[in-house]
């Protein structure tokens, strides 16, 4: 059996970084929109 575990470790880390990064970016954009709405309403 070939020893290629490093590739799948790297793939799982990369997928986690991409999906996690996108979730964080969405939450930051949502917070910014909420802050803008609050400033506008004051």
């Amino acid at each position: 059996m070939p020893d290629n575990a490093i590739y799948y470790h790297a793939a799982y880390i990369a997928a986690g970084v991409v999906y996690g990064g996108y979730i964080v970016s969405l939450l930051i954009r949502r917070r910014r929109a909420r802050d803008r709405t609050r400033r506008r309403d004051r």
């Binding site: 020893d3 575990a5 949502r30």
Partner: protein, 244 residues
Amino acid sequence: MPASSPPAERGGFDWLLAAAVLAVAATFIRAIYFTPVEALQGAAQKIFYIHAPSAFIGLYVAFGIVAVAGGLYLWLRDERLDRVAASAAEVGVVFMTVVLITGPMWGKPIWGAWWTWDARLTLTLFLWCVFVGYLILRGAIDDPAVRARYSAVLGLLGALLVPFIHLSVYLFRTLHPMPIVLKPSRPSLPPSMLTTFLMACLAFVLLFAALVRVRYRLAVAEDALADEELSESPAMSLRPESAH
């Protein structure tokens, strides 16, 4: 303050997103620790459990929704359909980015090459470029109606590539493996691997739904802010009321 706040104003915890993240984490743990290693390919075969579900959802679900919502927008001119298409396109690009990163990580140990310009890989990269272009187009047009119309057409044309990508392994000589689950006959996976694969599909469908929901709510809030900023701008205030 409007009677009902835009969704982005609603604070609090997003239970669907949290459940989706937990489901994906559970899938990762099952794939890494509780799924057997394939005898010929070794541990690199486990990349399949993130690559294939991400491709399935990115190609068929996300870009399918972009095409259907875009087509319905051109017919009904309902801005909610445009928001659904835009949200699905953005999340679909994220899923396809994972596909294009994890594919070469499987290809290097199995094929001996990170990339090959065969039909399946080249068409998938081209489709990703089309939908990145879709997002750039949306960012470049200020008029919401023009933006929605142009992006609906581009989304429909881009989604036409999806059947060709699915059939490319049958139509062309390609290094990419034939489908082992999405095919007319029974899946060619042992039960333990098939269970992990189906669990991964469910987890990523849940993640897709949660991300599109968050992105849609963000689009509603951003559109409301843009509308108010436009109505408060001096150019708009000079317009007679009958202009609406």
